[in-house]
Amino acid sequence: MDKICFTEEKGGNNCGDITVYALSTCAFCKKALKFLRENSVYFKYVYVDDLDPELKLQIKDELRSKFDREVGFPFLIIDDEKTIVGFTESEYKEEILGRQKNS
């Protein structure tokens, strides 16, 4: 996973360490990223479908094994422990904005 080149979005809201694995073609992934941007959340993301197929496979295997769940998109990880698969605005509000820390 060290080879992955993430794009960082330096929003002012620290809601924990947030990483999003997304598909460049997926409307729900785009909506998830838009939600994070509009709420100025600090996060990083990568479009896995634009990566080398071998690396993509490795990422999916590692996510599946590490978090013990099937990989769908968007696949969001908070603080390297909690995961949210798919995009539902109310869930993002509760689980992400609810963690907002003063920094």
Binding site: L23, C26, A27, F28, L57, V71
Partner: protein
Amino acid sequence: MKEKTYEDVKYFSEMVAGKQLWILNKDEEHLEMIIRGLQKNYNRYGYFACPCRDSDGVKSEDMDIICPCKYSRPDIEEYGHCYCGLYLDREFYNKKKELSSIPERRKPA
């Protein structure tokens, strides 16, 4: 292979919706994202792989997720829209509900 334009893909989606008596998503931003996603998948894989599912570009392994996917009918019946939110049923559309991701019916490989 001749590449598909945005208009080609929009026309394809309109034809599918018309034939199935579904309605295309009227959220223009969402619709455009899906159409562009389908266009990208067609132009790189050669078929309309669902834009919200990962594909390795092997058509024989993706027959179930070629748009309109095998799961679209049961998803529309249960949730009012298909997995990627391209096609809606009339009842869901009339309620003007916000679209959210729905559970994946496709069995893991």
